[in-house]
Symmetry: C2
Subunit: 496 residues, 2 copies
């Protein structure tokens, strides 16, 4: 793979200066055009040590307007990053629509280094690369332009350059010791990098390999690749996007998974009181243990309008020290949120290890209300299943417990509750025209819930369908599930 990158391409100073003059004007024009586009540009600058990644990043900043560019190095250690799923740091740095993010160091860095130092196996590296592919695919689906640059130098080239730097008045800050160490493992890095690049070279995130021996050639090529990629992406996205439009279904209405929920289930008040106390104390205790062990819960509450979501959540939060959780609700996205992938607004809410995040409505809006109301296209909500699964997988792999509740009531029960709300003073504000409108789409929502469970109830993040006609029964079912799942997670972390 790399042999084509050690053949001595170069550009003379005068030619370089002339070309750069043209390049800058064109880059600036495209950057200006990008500003009001609903997608970001993500530039990954990677490659072997001493290949001049820093200089390339510099050049790009210099050639364009640095005000629309955000450079991230993922360099400093941060406990806030370590205390969350690995990709949180990347989500946090994701450029907004119309902006350019330059990633100097990226999601590739850690897996490659870990493989070279034998911390992970080939199979594990492959799995990571698969994750990266899907991550990039997801960003690309959302419109992002991904430009990946790999700067290559021969082993001799690396050595020469480091020697030279060391001799030149020892700009030692620029060469941390680990870099020198990496250089000794040049061959290992080469093998692992090739494996990584091979697997992540895709139509939506192609690798651009650049011979880095001659700085002029390297920089100009990098600039040109960015220019071409942006130009093409702008052209492509200026045309109307083609969305898949599924035809009407020929199969008549079928039962859904919700028909299997026992809506007759009831819990008597006396029994309820005893169990409520029992599970709430247990949960309180478990949450303190979770804090000790650094285990988090991410819990999602979804359900029909008037299913008793709010009051059920309150039975959970009552039990927990307010310092140990955060409850997030979602109304319309803010404009910062709209300027990112739809999962961004949920990633940014994740709490640190030992603290729980409860979502009152969640990323499932994509495959529920957005699907039914047509706010998301078929392609968008369809691919969301996979995106969501990968998102939750990361949370679970980080050691957190993912809980998902759908609180189910039947149509008659909802009608009764709507009517009751309309006459109860402090509940009147809870019932709106929209609630009545949603009722008309009951079956469409049923199908959406059914499909959601089919696609996203996983071993690491199963759905709990809660029988909600009897509020007491529902609350205890939720609390019980919480305790059970947490106990299992805590046991795992600390065996007796």
């Amino acid at each position: 793979m790399f042999e084509t990158l050690e053949i001595g391409r170069k550009i003379k100073g005068k030619d370089f200066d002339e070309a750069v003059l043209k390049l800058r004007q064109q880059l600036l024009a495209l950057q200006f055009e990008l500003e009001d586009k609903p997608w970001p540009v993500i530039v990954i600058v990677s490659g072997v040590e001493a290949a001049g990644k820093g200089t390339v990043v510099h050049r790009l900043n210099e050639w364009m307007d640095p005000r629309g560019i955000y450079t991230y190095a993922f360099w400093d250690y941060s406990d806030e990053e370590e205390a969350r799923p690995f990709y949180w740091r990347f989500w946090r740095a994701m450029p907004a629509h119309g902006k350019i993010g330059i990633f100097f160091g990226s999601w590739y860095t850690r897996p490659i280094i870990d493989r070279v130092y034998g911390k992970i196996s080939d199979a594990e590296l492959d799995a990571e690369m698969q994750r990266i592919s899907e991550f990039e695919h997801m960003l690309s689906d959302d419109g992002a332009l991904i430009v990946k640059l790999w700067l290559h130098l021969s082993e001799e080239g690396v050595r020469e350059r480091l020697d030279k730097r060391t001799k030149q008045h020892l700009k030692s800050f620029n060469i941390p010791e680990e870099n020198v160490k990496y250089t000794r493992r040049y061959q290992d890095f080469k093998v692992v990098s090739e494996r990584a690049l091979r697997q992540t070279d895709s139509s939506y995130g192609p690798w651009h390999l650049i011979e880095a021996q001659n700085a002029n050639y390297r920089d100009l090529t990098a600039g040109e690749i960015l220019l071409d990629s942006m130009r093409e992406h702008l052209e492509k996205h200026n045309n109307k996007q083609h969305w898949h439009e599924p035809g009407e279904s020929l199969v008549p209405d079928q039962p859904t998974i919700l028909d299997t929920v026992d809506t007759e289930a009831v819990l008597e008040p006396d029994e309820y009181k005893v169990k409520l106390k029992e599970y709430q104390s247990k949960l309180a205790e478990l949450c303190w243990q979770a804090r000790e062990q650094g285990v988090s819960c991410v819990a999602v509450f979804e359900g029909w309008d008037a299913a008793g979501k709010g009051s059920a959540i309150r039975r959970v939060t009552q039990a927990i020290d307010p310092r140990l959780f955060r409850l997030v609700q979602f109304a319309a996205p803010t404009d910062e949120e709209r300027a990112h992938h739809y999962l961004w607004r949920f990633w940014r809410q994740l709490e640190r290890d030992g603290k729980h995040t409860f979502f009152d409505r969640s990323w499932y809006g994509r495959v529920l209300v957005e699907r039914v109301e047509g706010f998301a296209h078929y392609d968008e909500w369809q691919r969301a299943y996979h995106e969501i699964n990968r998102f939750e997988e990361q949370i679970a792999e980080h050691g957190s417990v993912v809980l998902k509740f759908w609180i189910h009531i039947d149509e008659d029960e909802q009608l009764a509750r709507f009517k009751a709300r309309e006459v109860t003073p402090h509940k009147m504000h809870k019932i709106t025209e929209e609630d009545w409108r949603n009722r008309d789409k009951w079956h469409e929502y049923e199908v959406a819930v059914h499909d959601m469970v089919t696609h996203t109830s996983t071993a690491y993040a199963p759905w709990t369908l809660v029988a909600g006609n009897d509020k007491r029964y529902a609350r205890i079912q939720i609390l019980k599930t919480f305790c059970k799942r947490m106990e299992a997670a805590l046991d795992k972390k600390e065996p007796d």
Copy 2:
């Protein structure tokens, strides 16, 4: 102060339940009304150990809709917080307009503890309390309702309660060791707390002292205080706000500080080249040293339209490794930013120790464009001077270097540059109708700049007025200032 809080007030269970029923309905109604108001509610729950602060926080969450409430404990250590000025953590947690933030632990916690353990003197405590007063004043000026609760227990009361807790199946997670330690210093805490409370009891942030021996009395009183405060604040803010309208000035136009800038200053191309190289290398080196020592720069670039701000900034950023700085530009605030105090959007951008944040336009917009164009009222931009000084003081005290550049050109030079821009293809987009309009207000802007320098050029954050008619001269002046200020800061931290 606290003797009135040890007299045995209490409420029986039945009375409590009845009162709570009414309280909840009213709290919910107010919370609902709050939702679309352009200000937040900040509730501080503090007091002696074991007084039941956690329970009160719980109750408030329970009695209202927890979805509009955000509880913060400032409990976990975070290196990202430590690596920034102290108040960054509070700014980060600040509730948006229409929301309620409950601060369980707050800006009071650290100074009080530090004083009790002798880490700071009385005078230093007083200074901290003064800072708090001003901080709360600022939030209040911006519309925030601040409700401060102090829960008091007698020394005996504290001991009894802790003993009881310890006996009861040892909910030990709830009583970290340091709490027990604090209890031993009850009297010290009492003296220091009184001093702190005394100094921060104000009309815009009054302290509500609550006897906490009886839980029913304590919780109900806390709820009622919040209810009353919210009700009154809503009433007050539903009336149109009165703004001070200054009369027209009787003093004829006077010279301003800008007239003292030597606009004739020139640097010849040859000398420029030598100096550019010299200062850029120096700056590059200093930035690496700064990283080693954890020193940050916060640099603000302001100036007339077409003063050469962008190209001057580029001469600075060219010199610095892109991993070591972030350049932030400001267009219109996002809706999340609009839902907070105007300084919030700047606080959130501050980089960690060792990394620099460059602001292309900044918080000075308040006293420049917002003042001249009438986007901010007199009261708002007038008090901004003090708010800005306090903001920069915190950055400086944290050990960062605050640099502020006003790039000055004269009216003729601006005209010449505007005209040149209109005929240069890749600069045409830089000149708009607005630029011409701003020119008509030249003198008003001059006065605004003059006042800005008068009020905000401080020992720890002086303004540098840059002679900008000659771009080369300006750039060198900026680079030179950068180097000088950084050298001074680095020397201070690490004497040879």
